[in-house]
Subunit: 196 residues, 2 copies
DNA sequence: TGTTCATGTGAACCATTGTTCAGTTTATAA
DNA sequence: TTATAAACTGAACAATGGTTCACATGAACA
């Protein structure tokens, strides 16, 4: 056995995160174990604990990174859009595209294992995303584009629907869920318009 | 210790299912263990295995029962509704109400533990529910009430949205998600109608 | 009374797994 | 070369938990 130890700490940490991502994704939190992650990261079991307090901390870090990333991308993308309808469409498409790219980790977050870990961080994320939606809706109503409605409740419902799209894509990766179709439904509904 | 054994088998099976429901609901699949279920069902650990092959089989039976029940209720409720818009509303409200009643078990199904158990049964359930939606949409288009659209894709999206409502309610039981508001969005969309 | 069998028991088995810690290795600098 | 500390190792520990099995119980019946 070749000894490959003595690498830079920062690099090892990254390797562990990458490996953990793969292992958690492939097996889920409960069935993934530290030995698998250690092997995948080409480090010893004990080595893992140099960089993460425990299994939970490791998974938590993974989730937090992803959520922060998505939140940042969303804010950024919405920055230069004025049309509320277009903003809603963008909001939806960002989320759908993000899922298709990071399907694996979302599988892990699901409901996996006992309860509440990372629940706080997730709730915070959801709240901030909903706030963005609320801003768009308020703007849309003020501009006369959207119908008058309870802004908070609507944002909650729309974000709920998006969560459903995300979940469906995660569970059935082959299903289409074209962003345009999804936002078309949210924007225009199922009922036929008079002027068409 | 009083010996309470020698009860009818069928009754014991029911007691076990009730107990399992409570325990799985309260702790999730992974953290629930056979000892807890045995105690809650007032039976011995070994006794559990007289009625269910293993932990998975026990949980699977629970889920299957619930899904069959919901599928039956849906079919029944939609039977005597002709108006497509009303049918969509009913479909949504049935699901939302069902979740609020059986929140616990849905928590268990989530994504819990490794992979695929009960996945087949769930997929079958989803397929059949989507079929119901497709029928409603097709009828609505034919009647000129709904806009022309890809029926299958629309059903998938709407069912996806409903899944999101369900998930949101499960995770945040306090949130409202009024059925009327939800179907209003699905039916009419966010954008303001001309005639209003 | 004695036999049968469905029903029930729970200690014990065994595999798994998160975590620790006493010790090893190597880069760096004095 | 030697000392120091950061990086790393993996056997061992301790707890958990699904499952089994040899045995017990009691209702029904001959």
């Amino acid at each position: 056995m070749v000894h490959m130890n003595k690498r830079s700490g920062i690099e090892s940490r990254k390797r562990i995160l990458d490996a953990a991502m793969k292992v958690f994704s492939g097996h889920g939190y409960a069935k993934a174990n530290m030995r698998m992650i250690a092997k995948a990261a080409d480090i010893s079991i004990g080595g893992l604990y140099l960089y993460f307090r425990n299994k939970e901390d490791l998974c938590f870090t993974l989730i937090k990174n992803r959520l922060d990333d998505l939140a940042g991308r969303t804010r950024e993308a919405l920055g230069d859009i004025d049309d509320p309808a277009e903003a809603i469409g963008k909001f939806i498409s960002i989320h759908i595209k993000y899922v298709k790219k990071h399907r694996e980790l979302i599988l892990v977050q699901g409901r996996e294992h006992g309860f509440a870990f990372g629940i706080e961080i997730k709730k915070k994320f959801f709240r901030s995303q909903r706030k963005l939606l609320e801003d768009i809706i308020r703007k849309g109503i003020k501009a006369g584009v959207f119908r008058k409605c309870d802004v908070e409740e609507s944002a909650k419902i729309i974000f709920g629907a998006i969560r459903g799209f995300v979940l469906s894509i995660v569970v059935e990766p082959d299903s289409l869920f074209l962003p345009e179709e999804c936002s078309n439904l949210i924007l225009n509904g199922l009922v036929r318009r008079n002027n068409k």
